[in-house]
């Protein structure tokens, strides 16, 4: 599903990522790593936010460099600490991203209902709590028809109901997932396909029993 070759990323002289080769088939993958290991940087690169050296391919057809629009249409990111302009409302943003990602009719409303955004849909982000913003960011990641959804620390700040709803969405989705979390996932919550650890700037495969 996703193939990364010769990926390097530095901030100034500080090397963060150096991944010679990494390939993941379709499935749900847990990306582990200490704070500051580079998980969020990796996710932002894969989502097309940060520049990088190397190449990223999705489904062997869409290159992030060569097909930026097609690639981005098939990948979605929910950031660990999402930031949206404070004067916008969840409704504004959901509508904008639905249009941009050509979301199927009714999908946005179903996500609003499922994740529980309805009661603050028209409240500016500046007046929302971090948990409320996080739930919107999770809903945005499922909009459209993404083939790979990246959820960076999806469980922080959200309530138990939203957590259950999120696990349900993940299980029901046909997309592949890259998840990062410092909290372990129970097998009945999410059927993980594999896990990787980001250490020494590279991704190391882990056996699920050893995580």
């Amino acid at each position: 599903m996703l193939r990364v070759t010769h990926l390097r990323k530095s901030f100034g002289k500080h090397l963060v990522l150096d991944i010679p080769e990494w390939e993941v088939p379709s499935g749900i993958y847990w990306i582990q790593g200490e704070n500051g290991a580079g998980k969020s940087t990796l996710f932002r690169i894969l989502a097309g936010i940060y520049s990088f050296e190397g190449e990223v391919w999705l489904q062997e057809r869409y290159s992030l460099r060569g097909h930026p629009q097609d690639y981005r249409a098939r990948i979605a990111l929910a950031e660990a600490e999402p930031q949206f302009p404070g004067f916008l409302t969840p409704h504004d943003l959901l509508q904008f991203v639905s249009d941009t990602r050509k979301a199927p009719s009714g999908q946005c409303e179903a996500l609003i209902e499922h994740i529980g955004i309805g009661n603050y849909l028209h409240q500016p982000f500046a007046a929302c709590s971090s948990g409320m913003v996080k739930k919107v960011s999770l809903a945005l990641a499922f909009l459209g028809r993404p083939e790979l959804i990246i959820l960076d620390e999806p469980l922080i700040t959200i309530d138990t109901e939203a957590r259950t709803a999120l696990f349900h969405l993940i299980r029901e989705s046909n997309a592949g997932f890259l998840l990062s979390s410092h909290q372990p996932f129970a097998p009945e919550e999410i059927p993980l396909s594999g896990a990787y650890r980001l250490q020494a700037h590279a991704l190391v495969p882990l056996t699920l029993s050893a995580k």
């Binding site: 989502a47 520049s51 979605a76 904008f96 991203v97 500016p124």
Partner: protein, 358 residues
């Protein structure tokens, strides 16, 4: 700048950006410089007109003071009450600074009228005008100082929704959101930039006559005008790069993103084009060329920021060199449309490199 100035005065201008923007458009777009002079002469020559002006200014100061008093009722502004511990002369100096900051538009226009009055030798009117200005200045300072000494019955309710809500449903449009962000969050930069460009255009363009000068005169003016937009470009860069970096993960084509950027910059430059129509003795083709020229200059600077993110001090040398080079391009009769298209192509090529290295 003292903390009261930052927390009260800047907040006032930030919240009233739209109001001041309309005032600027009325002052420079509707009224010509000759009409301003005529109005000042009328105010200085007629006590009724002077009285009405004083009342209007008092209403403005009432609005500004009222806004600050509302803030002083809020829980997060209770630190202001600590000023009561300061010696009286320090406290009064601080409040006079705040009052002067709030009344800056009144003081500026008052000074202009005063100069006109002195030229007319209307000394009684000048004395009255000075008294009105001093009264407004000290009166507002007194009210604010007194407000901080009176204990509150309760904290005022802060309704962020009421402050932020629009009276109509917001359209899902990135260019409009960008402009809304500028108005809401970067109102002071916007006001300062537009005040400078409006004063420049209103002050210089009336001197342009096609019989005496050619298009190089307004072209140079538009070069300076574009340079004055550097601050706003920085703000837009902050919006694109920091406030909402996540939007780069959305599937927009390069062409969509670039045309969206050009649209935002064109909308930002629209008031200047309107003023050029008002003041400049220029044909439609010439105005079109000048508009395209200023758009290409601002776009070129903005895309340089996007791909290189240089600090202002690092880019100032390059900016000066570019300014000199473009001045020569203008002076040597290069067709403006050709220069504009070349700059737009350069900007488009630069934009392809975005996202920039962190």
């Amino acid at each position: 700048m003292n903390i009261l100035f930052k927390s009260l005065v800047l907040s006032f201008y930030r919240q009233r950006t739209g109001f001041f923007f309309v005032v600027l458009l009325l002052a420079f777009g509707i009224m010509s410089s000759r009409e301003h002079l005529a109005l000042a002469a009328l105010i200085m020559g007629n006590f009724l007109a002077l009285g009405i002006t004083g009342l209007l200014w008092a209403a403005y100061m009432g609005m500004a003071g009222g806004y600050c008093i509302t803030l002083l009722h809020q829980k997060n502004y209770q630190f202001v009450r600590e000023t009561y511990l300061l010696p009286a002369h320090v406290r009064w100096r601080l409040w006079l600074e705040v009052s002067a900051g709030l009344s800056a538009p009144v003081l500026t226009y008052g000074a202009f009228i005063l100069v006109t009055g002195l030229q007319q030798r209307a000394f009684v009117a000048c004395t009255l005008l000075t008294a009105i200005l001093l009264l407004l200045l000290t009166g507002t300072a007194f009210l604010l100082e007194r407000r901080t000494r009176i204990p509150l019955d309760s904290f005022g309710a802060v309704s962020r929704k009421a402050v932020l809500a629009l009276p109509f449903r917001r359209k899902a449009s990135w260019p409009l959101w960008t402009l809304e962000w500028l108005f809401r969050e970067r109102g002071i930069s916007l006001l300062l930039t537009k005040t400078m460009t409006f004063v420049l255009l209103a002050g210089v363009l009336p001197y342009y006559t096609p019989d005496t000068y050619d298009l190089r005169f307004p072209a140079f003016l538009f070069l300076v005008l574009s340079l004055l937009h550097i601050g706003l470009c920085r703000e837009l860069f902050y919006w694109e790069h920091t406030v909402w970096s996540w939007q780069r993960s959305l599937p927009h084509s390069l062409l969509q993103r670039y045309s969206r950027l050009l649209l935002v910059l064109a909308l930002l430059l629209l008031p200047e084009i309107f003023l050029t129509l008002r003041y400049g003795n220029l044909s439609a083709t010439e105005i079109l060329q000048l508009s395209l020229f200023s758009l290409s200059l601002v776009a070129c600077y903005y895309t340089t920021l996007l791909v290189a993110n240089p600090p202002l001090e690092a880019i100032s040398g390059r900016l000066f060199a570019a300014f000199v080079a473009i001045t020569f391009i203008i002076l040597y009769h290069t067709p403006l449309s050709l220069a504009a298209v070349s700059l737009l192509v350069t900007s488009g090529l630069l934009f392809r490199k975005y996202p920039l290295p962190e």
